[in-house]
């Protein structure tokens, strides 16, 4: 029996590209690229390594608007076998728990030995969805995964990151792990994969396709709500020089001397 793996992935704005309008202090969202969340990509890479080694079957699943199709195609091009896109207006406005309810509802329709999520998404940084899915599906969880070994029967030996170092833990299938992007450098899409990815089927699943209490979905099913959102004020700027490189070095050296660093 081949191992069945499901990887939960999310499309996120590349938050390192977001800037503030210096005058109004508001977010400039235009032109910010959307990417596959880095930790999720690390998770997908882990799944694909297990595919290379043990011929595992890899399904990717995402919840999001139609444009999230892009990251599923990217996952195909990297080597995923099946892609499922949860999309429905009833999912909209979900907080982490409502998101986890939807994903868990979909996962209940699927077979798996291992569910992989990224540790956290760079747009929210909450690191909640993985453990919440594990709870809703009554699976053991291992978070902050750095590396994993499989005994080829049913036990994983996992190294997980801690503040002081690491921990080695063991867990049997089925289980959920959340993965750090630094754990696995993601492979590139291969050219044939990119070409084929466009014609492959991405399964579209709405609420009717999943097994979940509809009251627990979307904005209505979200225990937390945003009360207000605001940007932080900016402190006043110092002097900015546009000079040639040599003059720039002089200015820096003088300043470091003034500050007794040199």
């Amino acid at each position: 029996m081949n191992m069945k793996i499901i990887v939960c992935i999310k499309q996120v704005p590349d938050t390192t590209e977001i800037k503030l309008d210096p005058v109004t202090g508001t977010l400039i969202r235009d032109g910010v690229p959307s990417i596959m969340n880095p930790d999720d990509k690390g998770g997908l890479e882990l799944a694909l390594q297990l595919k290379d080694k043990y011929n595992a079957h890899v399904t990717v699943i995402t919840m999001g608007p139609m444009q999230a199709d892009d990251i599923l195609r990217e996952a195909y091009a990297m080597g995923a076998d099946r892609a499922i896109h949860l999309t429905d207006r009833k999912f909209a406005g979900a907080d982490t728990l409502a998101t986890s309810n939807a994903l868990a509802g979909a996962l209940r329709q699927l077979e798996y030995d291992l569910i992989i999520s990224g540790r956290q998404a760079i747009d929210g940084d909450t690191a909640q969805v993985g453990p919440q899915i594990a709870e809703l599906l009554d699976l053991p969880q291992v978070t902050y995964l750095e590396s994993l070994e499989f005994d080829e029967k049913n036990t994983f030996t996992i190294r997980k990151q801690t503040e002081e170092g690491y921990q080695i833990v063991q867990v049997d299938t089925p289980c959920l792990v959340s993965v750090l992007s630094s754990a696995n450098k993601a492979r590139y899409m291969n050219v044939r994969g990119i070409v084929e990815a466009h014609s492959r089927e991405v399964e579209l699943w709405g609420v009717d396709k999943i097994e979940v209490d509809h009251e627990k979905l979307g904005l209505k099913g979200s225990p937390t709500k945003v009360n207000k959102a605001f940007t932080k004020g900016v402190k006043s700027a110092g002097q900015v020089f546009e000079v040639d490189d040599y003059e720039a070095v002089e200015i820096i050296v003088n300043k470091l001397k003034e500050k007794y660093i040199l």
């Binding site: 938050t15 390192t16 977001i18 800037k19 503030l20 210096p22 982490t96 728990l97 760079i122 747009d123 929210g124 940084d125 909450t126 690191a127 909640q128 993985g130 453990p131 919440q132 709870e135 809703l136 969880q141 291992v142 902050y144 990151q161 801690t162 002081e164 170092g165 921990q167 080695i168 833990v169 063991q170 867990v171 630094s182 450098k185 225990p223 937390t224 709500k225 945003v226 009360n227 207000k228 959102a229 900016v234 402190k235 700027a237 110092g238 002097q239 900015v240 020089f241 546009e242 000079v243 490189d245 720039a248 070095v249 200015i251 820096i252 050296v253 300043k255 470091l256 660093i261 040199l262």
Partner: protein, 331 residues
């Protein structure tokens, strides 16, 4: 759910190897403020093994009650025993608020618990206060720190939040505060304990602590390559500085997480902070804007880093750092 049955501010007290972690004291300090505003009590939940004696010290840091759960399974943290213990306490004591440290333990426990209790959890709060309607107003950075959002959880209890270490100040120790630790026994379902800890390893990772450095030279995407970071290392040596990095640089493997400055990294306040090739996403600024003197080098004149820099240089960071290093070597 009738939320009027839920009251008091509960704090999850994290211990490792029988040592109560600082984060617990920081949370107690904030919990004290919140409880005072609500005219309610602060309750510390302290799971562990033979921890009761140490738990007694929590009164001095602001706890009105200390609930201790002692079990061999709780000595080293694993998800399920802790989740069962806290969930049973929540179900019988009905807290209005539950605070957890955003450590690797708290971020493993918090979401699992919130799903079991079917309530909301707000991660990495930087500000917590009681609103006019007595709900907890939980403010956190969102969108990579570019935006602050205030979150409420009005219809579910407890209102759960995690707070990162170092964000809140511990309360002042008051030895006159005292009390009796209450031992609570939990009815564990041990068949659900499915993760086995084989080994816990403490690594001395070269002991870099960028928060202690007087001078930091921080590299971002604009510094480019490993070669660029090598340059920063050379310059750091000449200046007696440490090298730190932006998230972009860490994500692309140029530096390590313990050197990362920003919302998801560390908060630093050195005498001089040199930002080389860092555009200054708010997520980064949040971690360094309190620095005494900020020098920014970036080729994009409109980069937000220049809005907080004391000295800004528009130019190629890699080239300028290389020239600067050359010059200092000669001197």
């Amino acid at each position: 759910m009738d939320i009027s049955n839920y009251k008091d501010v509960y704090v999850f007290v994290e211990q490792r190897e029988g040592v109560i972690q600082n984060i617990a004291l920081e949370l107690l300090g904030k919990a004290r403020d919140l409880a005072n505003a609500l005219d309610e009590k602060v309750v510390a939940i302290c799971p562990g093994h033979t921890i009761a004696n140490k738990a007694k010290g929590l009164f001095a840091y602001g706890a009105d009650r200390v609930l201790c759960i002692d079990d061999a399974e709780l000595g080293v943290y694993t998800t399920e025993p802790y989740t069962q213990a806290i969930a049973q306490i929540v179900n019988s004591y009905k807290p209005g608020i539950l605070m957890i440290g955003a450590t690797t333990i708290g971020r493993d426990l918090g979401p699992r618990l919130s799903a079991r209790l079917n309530t909301g959890l707000t991660a990495d709060c930087t500000q917590l206060e009681i609103g006019e309607d007595r709900h907890l107003m939980m403010t956190r950075p969102a969108f990579g720190g570019n935006l602050m959002a205030t979150i409420v959880c009005k219809e579910h209890r407890p209102q759960m939040s995690t707070v990162r270490p170092g964000v809140m100040k511990p309360g002042i120790k008051d030895e006159s505060r005292n009390g009796e630790v209450e031992m609570v026994s939990i009815d564990f379902d041990r068949t659900k304990f499915r993760v086995k800890v084989i080994e816990t390893v403490k690594e001395k990772k070269n002991l870099v602590d960028i928060t202690e450095a007087n001078v930091l030279i921080s590299g971002g995407r604009g510094i480019g390559s490993e070669e660029g970071f090598e340059l920063l290392q050379q310059l750091a040596k000449l200046l007696g500085a440490e090298v730190s990095a932006s998230r972009a640089a860490v994500d692309s493997g140029l530096s390590t997480h313990e050197r990362q400055v920003g919302q998801t990294g560390k908060t630093v306040r050195p005498d001089v902070y040199i930002a080389a090739g860092i555009s200054g996403a708010i997520q980064h600024l949040a971690g360094m804007e309190e620095s005494e003197f900020i020098i920014a080098i970036n080729k994009d004149k409109s980069a937000p880093i220049f809005q907080i820099a004391d000295l800004g240089i528009v130019g190629d960071a890699k080239k300028i750092i290389a020239l600067l290093t050359e010059k200092l070597k000669k001197e």
